[in-house]
Symmetry: C2
Amino acid sequence: MILALSGGVGGARLCQGLIQVARPDELAIVVNVGDDFEHLGLTICPDLDTVMYTLAGLHNPQLGWGRADETWHFMQMLAQLGSETWFQLGDRDLAVHVERSRSLAAGEPLSAITAKFCERLGIAHQVMPVTDQRLRTCVLTRDQGELAFQDYFVRQKAGPVITGLRFDGAETAALSGPLKQRLASPLGEQVKGVIICPSNPWLSVAPILAVPELSRWLQSARIPVVAVSPIIGGQAVKGPAAKIMRELGAGTDTLGIVAHYGDRVQGWMIDETDAALAGAIRDRGAHVAVTQTLMTTPEVAAALARTAIKLLDELQ
Amino acid sequence: MILALSGGVGGARLCQGLIQVARPDELAIVVNVGDDFEHLGLTICPDLDTVMYTLAGLHNPQLGWGRADETWHFMQMLAQLGSETWFQLGDRDLAVHVERSRSLAAGEPLSAITAKFCERLGIAHQVMPVTDQRLRTCVLTRDQGELAFQDYFVRQKAGPVITGLRFDGAETAALSGPLKQRLASPLGEQVKGVIICPSNPWLSVAPILAVPELSRWLQSARIPVVAVSPIIGGQAVKGPAAKIMRELGAGTDTLGIVAHYGDRVQGWMIDETDAALAGAIRDRGAHVAVTQTLMTTPEVAAALARTAIKLLDELQ
């Protein structure tokens, strides 16, 4: 059993590769909930939805969020009514938010709702939030103090300069039910490795690792952890990772990512563009696989997933 | 100033006629809220929406509810997720329910939300709920005990045999803010008459009249009340009015409607089909106008509205 830790689009693409090469009993996907927020009375979980839509083949590859084959009539009418329109909600996508919010209000845990949705969408592999409790990423900015994540990320298009991050609720967040079960399992399905997907280390992966039970387990279990760098040639494939690295003084390339994770990661997958950095990473004692990390097709994603699993095997 | 009391589709059509012949300072529309309910975490107000959509020219004349030019992608996805689909919510329509629910949760009264929506949709005439408080029509049935209104009306398609009605919350419901203001006004805009629209007397108008302040005002103000019969030739134009009349032993034609309202109505508009009943109604001491009450076009609705206002003038 492998645990994949995933944020939104980059992570979801690797997960799309992983489900092609690992059976449902060999892989469980743990998703960030720090981006989740309440909007128009609905609870919206962007990363869970991106993973779910991607694995179901329903995602919008152009936008990187939301559904393919989407319409926007709800938003058009919402604008006519003078309501908030800075966060786009497609007509089909909206059903997920409404049904999730209804289920949460009825007392169902987020993990159970996620499992139900995945089953309805034909996803065989387990997808779960890291916690069923409230965990919210707050962005500390140079000029505007603390911002709620989606205010920073969507409303302000990741423009404000970041000085730090805070994961509200993380300290008291328990693992979600199914994740707790996975990590406690006494059977043959013990976790044999962790893959950190190429999601933003500060915005998407850090909130997952901020759940104390998970970070303690990672330290004590002493199982191999491999990661795919989300930076290629000093650029983020998508999103503000490179900008945030500069703002946080965390370097400008994959070496900054490697330094950020430090001893927590023993195996790295870096892009061919960054082949020259492999030596420096090996000098830190980590294994390195140099390969194509830009997942332009599901086939490339599957190849990258195979490389990740092979790297985990090497580290056993 | 005329007050029109309206339920859904039949009432909304007469209101569409009234706004053609009465200025915004001459007409206020009071709408039933007994059909309102909570569904999927949203507060839905079917009659307010039907009136609003009709006056804005956005209504769906084929369905008799919801929006013209509607799409159903939200519902399709909701079905895919295994959620409740017995109450249809169009993609554009949904924006009204989401924004209303958000505004209610933020503490705005329903009347203020309704006024805001009407302004955004270009409706100049005042439309208001009879109360801002919770008032819910409960249907007492022969075989299933008490049913929530939409369970009876939509889910069970008005099939169960009715033995009575209860308007939960009516006894303690206060008039909505703008209605209270209208009825208390000391200025020249005193109400000079009330028009009961051709909405279902038991399901749509009774919940309005069940608000104690309104019925007391009607009794004490001694202003003329005219009504349009929703029954033509013993048939309801739309909906279960005729079926309910039979079940409640209230007759099978317009005379049953006349008897139901009793002294509360002094002027009747009945359809040409029912011209033979005019004598019996006049024998009860009421005025009668025989005209086309089936509002096949906005022009017919405007003509009916003119007749209603003329009848009110006669009764001054």
